[in-house]
Amino acid sequence: MSNSFLELLESREVLLADGATGTNLFNMGLQSGDAPELWNTDEPEKIKALYKGSVDAGSDLFLTNSFGGTAARLKLHDAQGRVRELNRVAAELGREVADKSERKIAVAGSVGPTGEIMQPVGELSHALAVEMFHEQADALKEGGVDVLWLETISAPEEFAAAAEAFKLADMPWCGTMSFDTAGRTMMGVTSADLAKLVEDYDVPPLAFGANCGTGASDILRTVLGFAAQGTERPIISKGNAGIPKYVDGHIHYDGTPELMGEYAVLARDSGAKIIGGCCGTMPDHLRKMREALDSRPRGDRPTLEQIVEVLGPFTSANDGTEEGSDAGSERRGRRGRRRS
């Protein structure tokens, strides 16, 4: 079976992924509060324009408009009965745009978090999470995606549930977590943790990494953290176009296209193979990223100081991967644990 994603992954040194979905759709008139996935059937031309924006800017792959396509998320819009339809169409529109291009373009089926907290701390059971991810995965497969693309996850339990579902759907996959809390995910996962975690699944991801989070500097520190584990697995870096600022009643991401070009080069030099943007990343940013990746020679792995110099400061002093950080939870003098 020919698979554009696998072919690209094997034949290219670096792949340019896509940019933001939300930011672009809001610019096309999506009202906040509405589910972007409903536009797959209501406004298919706009979704194709979204995909085409990435392709025309030089992306080698793009993600489908299906981030909130699990029953858990669609339920908030009373569309939980439309999982199959909305995901299938998201993929079909993507296939159409990709296959029209003269370049080889891969379509990645976006799968976002359920938004629920999993057991034991939350309510969502493993079995139900697997079922919901499986339903979405099957529909994206039916619509013709080359690969499934899990993103913005923070809990290892949810990552594992998706991995199991993708195995059931018999689809190759990639997966990224969002490291937005002092260099860790909201649930405390470090870059080193994820690099180890992905090796434990029955079917590991073809590539893994980080997306969204905070600024461009932070995500590069995370990429360096993956690389430091000596992983052979391709690393993904999809960072936001800077940090949102509130200026005169409007929101503005402070990452310019030029800055994202610098980010792309540093991401590559840090060890990432698949590089893209996340929130705030528009086609103009992608063009500069493509240009920078194509024109600038590969450099040495940057130091943290070099990253700060080019992209600005980190949002936290460390990211939980430094020596001795695991002893943290024993900070206080502890009494004997009972009933152990």
Partner: protein
Amino acid sequence: MSEEEDIILSELDDEELVQQMFDDLYDGLKEEIEEGVNILLERGWAPYKILTEALVGGMTIVGADFRDGILFVPEVLLAANAMKGGMTILKPLLAETGAPRMGSMVIGTVKGDIHDIGKNLVSMMMEGAGFEVVDIGINNPVENYLEALEEHKPDILGMSALLTTTMPYMKVVIDTMIEQGKRDDYIVLVGGAPLNEEFGKAIGADAYCRDAAVAVETAKEYVARKHNAMNA
């Protein structure tokens, strides 16, 4: 420190027992917390004293370590759950004894925003800290907030937004409260990934809360100030 002997809660003196409950909260041990609360009640502690000295005291440590990046969300939720176990026992007794309340909060994500995980965390931690929380869910227009404020008369209004496109709506809510002369009746706290302190000030909120632990600390501080002002 590392002896593995079972500790019998009822054999500890009051001070040791409270220290042990701090540890048990830290470890998210719900049954032990319930047992500790019952022992203190039997020893004649006032429900309010148990709440503030044993439970809130313990959760303050959890909150501080969460703020400092030592504990993460899963541990904090387990601690909050243990705290809630204790609260369930204390709640009717607190009402009976007419003890001062910790405070109450109406919380929801603003119109246009369907991202609720942050709001849910704040709700759980606020409840864990002993607050009464009315969660009005996602995607709330200004009318929903005003109705809930009218109905529940909380101390605090909490608003959450994850999107840069929805966070300006917080200002709409606050402006409407000002127009109706209700703004000063409530403490307004805002939070969400894209916000910052500057934004909180710009829209006229009392405070921006970086995370759920900060939300709890800020809520406690503002409610204490409000109660002091009322008693002055």
